[in-house]
């Protein structure tokens, strides 16, 4: 009997996946439809679905769990639908409009290429803080931290009083260059807190410097507002989920996935970083798996119902984007860097009435699948409809048969909308759609890797997501990846990643330290001490967060990182410091060497430009504590021939101009060592792996399929 250890939850826009891992590293993936209004319902349903596959129940297994990690849309939904608190905002007098101007770019964030240049589609969302709750105080600090206009004390009280009169529920203070000179912001904060105390109100004050002391005022202000606007209400949502779990017998403290790829407590001070939804769990899982398998460079690809997401792990590290956008807001959060394109298995397929060519997406049927789902109400053909027409997916075994798909409906829709207008057979039209999708994904994957200065041959490709394995062969064909791996648990890989994530807090601070190539010893020491002071400040914040979960600083494993660049550059590199503490000039040399080593790796040795001198632009501290993690299965190898019980029979499919009898296997019943030849379809409840002509699949001892292109 299984004894569950870890519960990982990925409450996406479409499905809530749960991933439950037992003490031997065996796992089970549960799926249920997401219930965005009360996420814990979908979560419990999904857990039931998972545990039913082990013939056990929530009551039996939940008390055994050692850890649980949640990632989902709770926070993001709150932001997108603008149901947050009434936040008041204090800015520099004269710049009160800057927040609602959205830096112009917020009128077209998250848009497809076509919409970005289609100017009338550009649109500003309502500001998080309306103008009437924004006030200004007179002060000005320049970029070096010099006070140009001293804080005009007489401005503070009337400004705060106005917000109190407007009955705001939180106050955010964001002054220019406060990350460099925090005293003005803190003075305003202290006055505000005094006044709130006197007025006997329950209003929390957020100075950006206490939360996100980083450059770029739009990003920093937004992020701190998100903290005030959505974090507290989200905390309640998360507490509800935690309660629902505890009521069902769990004893662990629920953690949440954060944008930097680590997990944090639901009690964390800074919750804005949990407004990440979606695929970074997969990246974290891929990183964990890559470490276990000893792979340094991995290209991760995830096809879901709505999008195709790719990210690179290079030399074992995830790339971090420090000023990303989410929910159409520019933010100052460290986000695991990923690229996404709006083409998934639910993408709508249409014929452009002007040019008569096929177009995919960018909109998608998401959880409603397509016309083949009679209950969906969808009328436009999706990629999934084409899969059904071709016979690639089993209409009776979609999500284990939870949704019955109609092949007749799919056939009729492809015929009238695609095949007849193009004068093609229905099968050829459907096949053409999958080929178009695969070639788009292939180009996208290749251009991203080439664009970063690498070649696919340096990478192993991981393919996961519910729709990934259907197209893996198609989108990796001819790219020359070192290897192509498909974990057998592809459908729940994001959730697996949450389970594999470190319990990690990460804090960033902007610095402006410039050192010339041949600097004096005193200048180097001054620079190093400033960096160390920033590290100390951030370490304190990390320790404080862990203390809330009763971890003492001795339990915490700290990593010190810094961002460095050549002077005058606009982009920097994030590097882990090889030192524990800055002490003398030698330590500085170590930092410079680590930077140049990374620079050589990312760009080229000939790109090094030490004559420009160096800038340290940021300090970062990450702290982790040990938590239970999933084990990667190791099973004895069996023969090359798949066992008879895995074989489910034949199905007629259409492939490249002809009907073929494909061999159908049940994925779970295949044994390590099995070789599966084309044309085969490996079915599981939530995913389907296609081994087309010209390919061969091999299941290794870790329950990972290697998809090999036969030369």
């Amino acid at each position: 009997m299984a004894k569950s250890q870890i519960l990982a939850i990925d409450a996406g826009g479409t499905m809530t996946d749960t991933f439950i891992i037992d003490e031997r590293g065996e796992f089970v993936v549960g799926k249920a439809q997401t219930t965005p209004d009360d996420e814990h319902i979908g979560l419990i349903n999904s857990s039931k679905d998972a545990l039913a596959q082990w013939n056990t129940s929530i009551e039996g297994e939940f008390p055994n769990l050692l850890a649980g990690v949640y990632s989902g849309t709770a926070m993001l939904n709150r932001l997108v639908s603008r149901v947050g608190r009434r936040v008041g905002l204090v800015l520099n007098k004269g710049t009160e409009d800057s927040h609602r101007m959205g830096r112009a770019i917020q009128s077209h964030l998250g848009y497809s290429y076509a919409d970005r240049i289609h100017i009338n589609t550009h649109h500003f969302d309502p500001p998080l803080v309306p103008r009437k709750w924004t006030v200004g105080v007179t002060e000005r600090v320049d970029l070096f931290g010099n006070v140009v206009i001293p804080l005009y004390e007489d401005d503070i009280k009337p400004a705060i009083q106005k917000l109190l009169d407007e009955d705001v529920e939180a106050i955010v203070i964001s002054l220019l260059h406060s990350y460099k000179y925090p005293h003005h912001e803190r003075r305003v904060r202290d006055v505000a807190e005094e006044m709130i105390k006197k007025a006997n109100k329950d209003i929390k004050v957020f100075a950006t410097v206490d939360y996100y002391p980083v450059r770029k005022e739009s990003h920093r202000t937004n992020t701190t507002i998100v903290e005030a606007y959505a974090a507290e209400p989200s905390r309640k949502t998360l507490e509800k989920i935690d309660d629902a779990l505890r009521n069902n017998g769990t004893k662990f403290d629920l953690r949440i996935m954060a944008s930097h790829g680590g997990t944090i407590s639901i009690k964390a001070n800074e919750l804005a970083r949990t407004c990440v939804s979606g695929p970074i769990g997969g990246m974290v899982g891929a990183k964990y798996l890559a470490e276990k398998l000893g792979l340094k460079n991995v290209a991760c690809s995830d096809i879901g119902g709505t999008s195709f997401d790719i990210g690179l792990i290079t030399q074992g590290d995830l790339a971090i984007d420090t000023s990303p956008d989410m929910a159409r807001l520019v933010l100052s959060l460290p986000l695991v860097s990923m690229d996404t394109t709006g083409a998934g298995t639910g993408s709508f397929v249409r014929i452009d009435p002007n040019y008569r060519n096929l177009t995919l997406g960018p909109d998608s049927a998401g959880s409603r699948v397509g016309v083949c789902n009679p209950k969906s109400g969808i009328e436009t053909v999706t990629v999934s409809d084409c899969h059904v027409v071709l016979g690639l997916i089993n209409p009776d075994n979609f999500i284990g048969g939870a949704i019955k798909l109609s092949k007749e409906r799919a056939y009729e829709a492809v015929k009238t909308q695609i095949a007849d207008p193009l004068g093609m057979s229905v099968e050829d039209a459907a096949y053409g759609v999958t080929e178009l999708l695969e070639s788009q994904l292939r180009n996208y994957l290749e251009s991203m890797i080439l664009g970063k200065g690498y070649s696919p041959s340096q990478y192993v490709c991981f393919s996961y997501g519910g729709g990934g394995p259907l197209h893996t062969a198609g989108y990796t064909k001819g790219l020359g990846f070192e290897d192509v791996l498909i974990p057998a648990w592809a459908a729940g890989f994001s959730a697996f990643g949450c389970g594999a994530a470190d319990f990690e807090y990460r804090y960033d601070k902007t610095l402006d330290i410039n050192v010339t190539e041949k600097a004096e010893k005193s200048a180097i020491l001054e620079a190093g001490n400033e960096l160390q002071a920033a590290w100390d400040e951030l370490k304190k914040k990390v320790s404080e967060e862990f203390e809330k979960n009763e971890y003492s600083p001795e339990d915490v494993h700290f990593r010190l990182l810094y961002r460095m660049q050549y002077q005058g550059q606009l982009n920097d590199l994030e590097i882990e410091a090889p030192i524990k503490q800055f002490q003398d000039v030698d330590d500085y040399q170590v930092l410079v060497e680590a930077f140049e080593e990374a620079y050589t790796r990312v760009y080229a040795k000939s790109a090094l430009s030490p004559e420009l001198g160096y800038s340290i632009t940021g300090a970062i501290v990450s702290g982790t504590v040990d938590v239970a993690k999933p084990k990667i299965p190791v099973e004895p190898l069996s023969s090359e021939t798949p066992p008879g019980e895995a074989f489910l029979g034949h199905r007629k499919i259409y492939w490249d101009g002809e009907f073929i009898e494909a061999k159908i296997y049940e994925m779970e019943k295949l044994l390590p060592g099995n070789k599966i030849k084309a044309f085969s379809i490996l079915e599981s409840t939530a995913t389907t792996l296609v081994v087309p002509i010209g390919f061969e699949a091999y299941l290794n001892e870790n329950r990972i399929f290697h998809l090999k292109e036969l030369k």
Partner: protein, 166 residues
């Protein structure tokens, strides 16, 4: 292909659609029936029976008269001229050609210099709706904005019969 009904197109004309509805219309492929529905909605809203051939502006239409003439007509019923002629030559015109007149509609210093640019406002002689505004150099000829090929549009593009009167 998108399909919209009279209610939705009516709201499009009124400017009362939610942004997400507009965005869908803009980002998706155009509905081939748009013109027909649009024309019907406009026809229901005007107080006269002459069939609208083509909307010409926010208040102007090219309509079909019983005698076969195609006339530019204001929604108040005022008839300007044959559609091949420039209706502006039959409208009332107000020209802002002094600083004082400019500063009625712009703050000082934000208005054009009338030596360089004048503003010409065209009004319906019956209902005084502002129908068009030109911003041109002072000596500039009155512009003929639009010379539609109505027959080709109906026959070859939207493939509809020309609307007939009741």
């Amino acid at each position: 292909m998108a399909k919209y009904d009279q209610k939705l197109i009516g709201e499009l004309i009124d400017g009362t659609l939610e942004f997400y509805q507009l965005k869908e219309m803009m980002s998706g492929h155009k509905d081939p029936e748009r013109f027909e529905i649009y024309r019907e909605v406009l026809q229901e809203r005007v107080p006269w029976d002459d069939p609208i051939l083509l909307p010409y502006g926010l208040h102007l239409y090219i309509v079909q008269k019983k005698n076969g003439d195609r006339i530019v007509k204001c929604d108040c019923g005022h008839e300007f001229c044959h559609y091949k002629e420039n209706w502006k030559l039959h409208a009332r015109i107000f020209v802002r050609d002094t600083e004082e007149k400019m500063n009625e509609i712009y703050p000082k210093l934000m208005s054009p210099d009338t030596e360089w640019q004048v503003i010409r406002e065209f009004y319906c002689p019956s209902c005084a709706s502002q129908l068009e505004v030109e911003a041109v150099p002072p000596w500039y000829p009155i512009l003929l904005d639009f010379e539609p090929d109505i027959d080709t549009f109906y026959h070859d593009w939207v493939k509809l019969p020309l609307p007939k009167g009741k």
